[in-house]
């Protein structure tokens, strides 16, 4: 005797259309979920690398502490350096041990002697980086200079590509879902034309007639969103060990923080998983609502 029952009845009558709509919604939201996770990861990585020292100078074994101090003094006179941090061979070994504590084989073979001492440098402004880099290149006793800007630039370029390709793909999928909803709900309205005409004659408002179709769209959205979340979570857990080796040495990457709650993109925590569900559910409900509202408005006007 109520709309919800009518909804259940109409879903049972057109199972293939329901499956097609839910499947399309699931695919769209699953891709959206992957896209969001990729964008969030790359953005967090960019932030992480941006906060790291911008130049790391690795010294040869011949370079002693005295000549390093002389180099530091020389750099200070430029007035373009914000911070320095000297990392001795022993400190480098400690860092190496911390990073590889789960891999005893790697720890056994390494001693402080084979690790280089280094100097982490941050400039006052990124525009001085190249100048300092050029200056350091001419210095004796320098084995290698790691220019973090290059890493950050590569990451930013990669993140932008991910964003553009992902956004195009998402727009394409959202439109496909939208058209499938439009066709599916349009067909149902066409089948129910007589019923709709009767309802209008007995005083039903357009909203009353649209309501079950919109509920249907919302149902597709919530099922599709939840399925996408389940599959994304499974994929996230599956890829976790691979990501762990790739992100070795990278600490916790926070996506956002609220008082008492931190949503960590790496390693992914329960709050991130719940946030992902919320985002996918809201996205599914939004696509479902807009698609079904538009479809019902359009087809009701035509009939």
């Amino acid at each position: 005797m109520n709309t919800e029952l009518n909804l259940a009845r109409r879903l049972r009558r057109t199972p293939y259309q329901v499956i097609a709509s839910v499947f399309m919604m699931f695919i769209t939201l699953f891709v959206l979920s992957l896209f969001l996770l990729l964008v969030a990861s790359t953005s967090s990585l960019v932030t992480y690398f941006e906060k790291k020292p911008q130049l790391t100078v690795f010294f040869t074994n011949e370079k002693d502490k005295v000549s390093v101090d002389a180099l530091i003094e020389k750099l200070k006179t430029t007035g373009k350096i914000e911070t320095f941090k000297y990392v001795s061979k022993e400190e480098a070994l400690n860092i190496y041990r911390e990073q590889n504590k789960d891999d005893p084989l790697l720890l056994e073979m390494v001693t402080a002697d084979i690790l280089p001492s280094s100097l982490d440098i941050s400039t006052v402004s990124p525009k001085y980086l190249n100048e300092i880099y050029q200056m350091l290149k001419t210095e004796p006793g320098i084995d290698d200079i790691v220019f973090q800007k290059e890493v950050v630039d590569t990451l930013i370029s990669w993140a932008n590509t991910v964003r553009i390709v992902g956004a195009i793909f998402i727009v394409f999928l959202v439109l496909s879902t939208f058209f499938i909803l439009l066709t599916s709900i349009g067909m149902k309205i066409a089948i129910k034309r007589e019923e709709i005409e009767i309802l209008k004659l007995v005083g039903a408002t357009n909203w009353f007639i649209k309501k079950p179709f919109i509920l249907e769209g919302l149902l597709y959205g919530s099922i599709g969103g939840s399925l996408a979340w389940v599959f994304s979570t499974i994929l996230l857990l599956y890829l976790n060990p691979y990501a762990a080796s790739f992100l070795r040495g990278v600490g916790t990457l926070k996506l956002l923080s609220l008082p008492g709650i931190s949503f960590n993109i790496w390693p992914p925590n329960i709050f991130l998983i719940l946030l992902l569900w919320l985002v996918l559910l809201i996205s599914g409900l939004t696509i479902g609502f807009i698609g079904s509202f538009y479809a019902s408005s359009r087809y009701l006007k035509e009939n």
């Binding site: 005797m1 009767i198 209008k200 004659l201 007995v202 039903a204």
Partner: protein
């Protein structure tokens, strides 16, 4: 109160359904619209519930000027002015109770109140025994009684009936008319288009006779011809 003031309705250039007709129906009245097919009876009924809009003239239902009513208000007019059709227009996939309950669902009645009202209405149209039947399991007379039940379940003040006995045998037609008459005695205005001479003659109600879209007779306590 229903008022037609110089109302005309044309379909295209050549087909005039009603031409410059004026009449007034007071609240609680029972009026028969009679006349041959194509005389304009159905058009008048469809103009009252705004299924059609007049080509010229004005139509009032109480304070509402029907021909000027915005689309968003039409559902509210139709809750007040209910229609009973010759072909019943029932929802085939819903039971008798659900068909009647549609009118209450539209009004936003809660379940308990709707169930109570459905039971009352089904008692009025003598269908208590068939509450869970589907329309296809009912006789034509029973289907028309469901349609009448649906029409009176809500906030109906005016009942428009377009040949409600047109598909029924004489005995069933009388049963339907008794029910409609009972509804009218309860204060609901009834305007009924009919071809049934026996029914019109025996009821001795106001008769508006139409020919070629014009009123040719409007008499109280009258007969078919």
């Amino acid at each position: 109160m229903i008022l037609f003031d110089a109302v005309s309705k044309s379909y295209g250039r050549n087909k005039t359904a009603v031409a410059d007709i004026s009449f007034k129906v007071e609240s609680g009245e029972f009026v028969f619209l009679v006349g041959p097919s194509g005389a304009g009876k159905t058009t008048i009924l469809r103009l009252i519930n705004r299924e059609l809009n007049p080509t010229s003239g004005s139509i009032f239902v109480d304070d509402w000027q029907v021909d000027k009513l915005p689309d968003s208000k039409i559902p509210f007019l139709r809750r007040k002015v209910a229609f009973v059709f010759q072909d019943f227009k029932l929802l085939q996939d819903r039971t008798v109770a659900e068909n009647v309950a549609v009118a209450l669902e539209i009004l936003g009645r809660n379940r308990d109140s709707a169930v109570r009202r459905v039971n009352q209405v089904l008692a009025t149209v003598h269908l208590e025994e068939k509450i869970n039947f589907f329309p296809r399991q009912l006789s034509l007379g029973e289907q028309q009684r469901v349609a009448i039940g649906r029409a009176i379940a809500g906030e109906t003040q005016v009942l428009l009936a377009d040949e409600p006995t047109g598909n029924l045998d004489p005995r069933t037609s009388w049963e339907i008319l008794k029910i409609i008459s009972k509804i009218n005695k309860g204060g609901t205005t009834v305007i009924m288009a009919s071809h049934n001479v026996d029914i019109v003659n025996s009821m001795k109600k106001r008769v508006i006779e139409l020919q070629a879209g014009k009123i040719v007779r409007d008499q109280k306590k009258s007969r078919y011809n």
